[in-house]
Symmetry: C2
Amino acid sequence: MIPHLSNDDLLGGCEAVRPILVRIGDKWSVLIVMALREGPRRFNQIRRDIGSISQRMLTLTLRGMERDGLISRKVYPTTPPRVEYALTELGHSLRGPVEALGAWAIANEAEIVSAQTRYDAENA
Amino acid sequence: MIPHLSNDDLLGGCEAVRPILVRIGDKWSVLIVMALREGPRRFNQIRRDIGSISQRMLTLTLRGMERDGLISRKVYPTTPPRVEYALTELGHSLRGPVEALGAWAIANEAEIVSAQTRYDAENA
DNA sequence: CGGAATCCATATTGATACTG
DNA sequence: CAGTATCAATATGGATTCCG
């Protein structure tokens, strides 16, 4: 055991992080945050921005982020229907930490790849 | 499309983040990073630290993080065998961004939960 | 002690077709 | 345009057993 860190501390200090990482660490959320960072966008605009996402996953991911209060959804009852998605304040506040982690990822991507290559070579 | 942001920019600036988020955003990696933050620990020590992780997932997660160069694995050929895991420098450098995101998560957890509750109530 | 191997349940994702 | 419904493929995670 780590003497100065109880399991409750781990739960309180770290386990709370996991659901967040799971949400924003999924396959699409970060890309959606980035697609919306300049302002509201429509469903198929976002879909084209990302390019490879399926309709189903875009719907599911948007719903999840809306449920978490990260994005808002506004429907204009026109024909054809128009739906705009936008980051909430909470969603915008997430950009800082995410981009910090992104900076780390970019800064260390080469080292990670070379570590993977080395590992794969040694365990041929 | 976002005029000032090509798909290549998205790939270069954001998509590089995703594999990292996928790795550390999985169910266990963050807890392992925190368990190792004070120094090297043995397999079953980490397992007891986390408490709920299965042997299989601890092995798999440690392997993945080792492959990414985040942790090191040192075997002492004694009987019984002794294996120590430790954060590499790269692993330690990840603590900052992860803890920043953790701070965001803790700071905004209540707001997220209330957003979820509100959403679930409105979509009864 | 520190795994590897196997089996099984569930979750996630994608492809396709259909709708108001 | 912005979804919903359904099915199939894959990924993920847990339980159990066995081993040097």
